[in-house]
């Protein structure tokens, strides 16, 4: 069952162009879904639509199988969210901030200390939230999102502004929440490297369109298949002609010839072929495409 599902979701802020164009997103229950895309790709708009912060224009949003609009209140009671920067009242302490939300969710008061301990803010005492560091504010934001024990967390770039150790801490916390508490997490980011160690499912969006959706395994598969062979000869133009004649997809890239990935025996055969036609081969190497370059390729189409 999908925890969050959008179909043909489109949105435009002004009459010029679509901010979102037929976005279909499927977040499986129990997964950590990484929603990736460069800045301005439409991630925040999608998440705001899922949370009802923007008025839906076209398409459908379902959360736990229920249509969002007619079941807004029951759906929101199951979602915890942190959109962009954390929402906190700067003149109140961490406990008071959580009390504001505790009353609205009608959850037990004991839950406040529980979530504060969970995010490592149990000892902040009388310190006002306005005096917190950015990392502490982010953690208080996560505590707010967790307060009512939601089934799904929607987090928009929660590691923005965190230092590397803060990012690692946040990642570990989210993994723990997913594994130990079974919370489904939808997390957006513009950096694949930041969340590739965390997510199980990935959706990539650019210019309001979904370019890829699938498991991290499928993306890795694409990584492997996106790899290739690099060749350098004394006459690359003649070599390319020769290779194309043999039915290979050869092209020149920065003074080198690039071919799709081949089996070891095929590479040896190809080398013999070129030498027999009096072409000197200076280099044969394999090119491995990392996830980051796939992401870049997808988002720069």
């Amino acid at each position: 069952m999908y925890c969050i599902e959008t179909s043909e979701l489109s949105y435009q802020y002004s009459r010029q162009g679509n901010e979102l164009n037929r976005v279909n997103l499927r977040v499986k229950e129990g997964s950590i879904y990484g929603f990736l895309g460069p800045n301005g790709a439409g991630k925040t708009t999608t998440l705001k639509l899922i949370l009802g912060l923007l008025k839906k224009q076209q398409g459908q949003i379902k959360v736990f199988g229920e249509d969002f609009d007619p079941h807004r209140l029951s759906v929101l009671s199951k979602i915890g969210s942190l959109i962009e920067s954390p929402s906190l009242y700067s003149q109140l302490t961490a406990t008071e901030n959580l009390s504001v939300w505790q009353k609205l969710y009608s959850c037990p008061k004991t839950r406040i200390q529980e979530v504060l301990e969970l995010v490592g803010l149990g000892q902040t005492g009388a310190k006002k939230a306005g005096q917190f560091s950015l990392g502490m504010k982010q953690r208080l934001g996560i505590a707010t999102a967790l307060l009512h024990s939601p089934s799904v967390l929607v987090l928009d770039e929660p590691t923005n502004g965190l230092d590397p150790s803060g990012m690692v801490e946040m990642r570990e916390l989210l993994k723990r929440l997913n594994k130990e508490h079974g919370i489904t997490i939808l997390i957006s980011s513009h950096l694949l490297s930041e969340i590739e160690k965390l997510v199980t499912e990935v959706g990539i969006i650019n210019q309001g369109k979904i370019l890829f959706e699938g498991s991290l395994g499928e993306l890795m598969q694409r990584q492997r298949s996106a790899g290739g062979i690099r060749l350098d000869t004394n006459n690359n133009a003649a070599a390319i002609e020769r290779l194309i004649a043999q039915g290979l997809d050869a092209r020149q890239e920065q003074d080198k010839i690039v071919l799709p990935l081949l089996a070891r025996s095929e590479i040896a055969q190809l080398n013999r072929e070129l030498v027999q036609h009096e072409l000197d081969v200076y280099e044969i190497s394999t090119v491995e495409s990392d996830l980051e370059s796939i992401f870049m390729t997808l988002t720069h189409l």
């Binding site: 923007l54 003149q91 969710y105 009608s106």
Partner: protein, 259 residues
């Protein structure tokens, strides 16, 4: 689903240590505090006043003189805008709008807190007036006022002022809910207040929604400004308040971006 009571409690908690909450306390005691010292520093004058059969009415008139024309409307412009804009300032609208409560509940709970704070201000101001009347004779060792404290007059005056300043609450709430920039409600409030003060002697001055507190104050002094009787001001004030509140509600509910 969150009930109105839970939402109200949550909204009330947000006012803790807020600038608006301090403004209510300081605003409530500011003029009584000054008048307290004015009486303490001039004991001869005080000796004559305490035997007057209208000692408390004198205090009431003096206190409202400074409060009604400028301080109360200006304080309301500031406090209402500060309190409503708290969500913009702290970036919390998006969190509030993802809680399981209807927009109507949020709207009414916020308005309820504003009206409660206004009530709180009147309680503190009345307490301040009483203390500024009773403490100076005690400090100076002068006999206490002969006249019994006319609580009915104080209550009636305060409730009239409360109704007369409702349009200010309604309009400031409307503007503050719509604009992120604090200067917009502040500028609009100051502009309307000045326009209302300038228009007091205009035959249609009662059309200006911030004019009812000064009008009521002048009517207490027996001066008649404008063309309407005192009890008609209340109807205009209530009408404006209801109108502004309804407008505010529709603009708020229909807002496309609630983040």
């Amino acid at each position: 689903m969150t009930t109105f009571v839970a939402s109200y409690q949550s909204e009330w908690l947000k006012t803790k240590r807020s600038l608006a909450a301090w403004l209510v306390v300081l605003g409530g005691f500011f003029i009584p505090f000054i008048l307290f010292w004015a009486r303490v520093l001039y004991p001869d004058k005080l000796r004559k006043e305490v035997v007057s059969p209208t000692y408390w009415e004198g205090i009431l008139g003096q206190s409202w003189q400074f409060m009604a024309i400028f301080m109360l409307p200006m304080g309301l412009v500031l406090a209402t805008s500060l309190l409503t804009q708290m969500e913009f300032r702290n970036n919390t609208w998006k969190q509030l709008h993802t809680t399981p409560q209807s927009y109507t509940t949020i709207f009414l709970a916020k308005l309820g807190v504003l009206l409660t704070m206004l009530f709180q201000f009147f309680v503190l101001f009345n307490l301040g007036m009483y203390l500024s009347g009773i403490l100076p004779p005690l400090v100076r060792g002068i006999s206490l006022p002969k006249q019994a404290f006319p609580w009915e007059v104080y209550l009636k005056t305060s409730s009239h002022f409360w109704i007369n300043c409702l349009p200010i609450v309604g309009f400031q709430y409307l503007v503050s809910l719509q604009f992120r920039n604090f200067l917009v409600p502040l500028g609009a409030g100051i502009g309307l207040l000045l326009a209302s003060l300038i228009g007091l002697e205009w035959e249609h001055g009662h059309w200006l929604p911030y004019s009812y507190c000064p009008y009521y104050f002048f009517s207490l002094r027996g001066a008649k400004l404008g063309t309407l009787a005192v009890d008609v001001f209340f109807k205009w004030a209530l009408g404006y308040f209801v109108g502004f509140t309804l407008l505010s509600y529709f603009f708020y509910v229909l807002k496309k971006d609630k983040s």
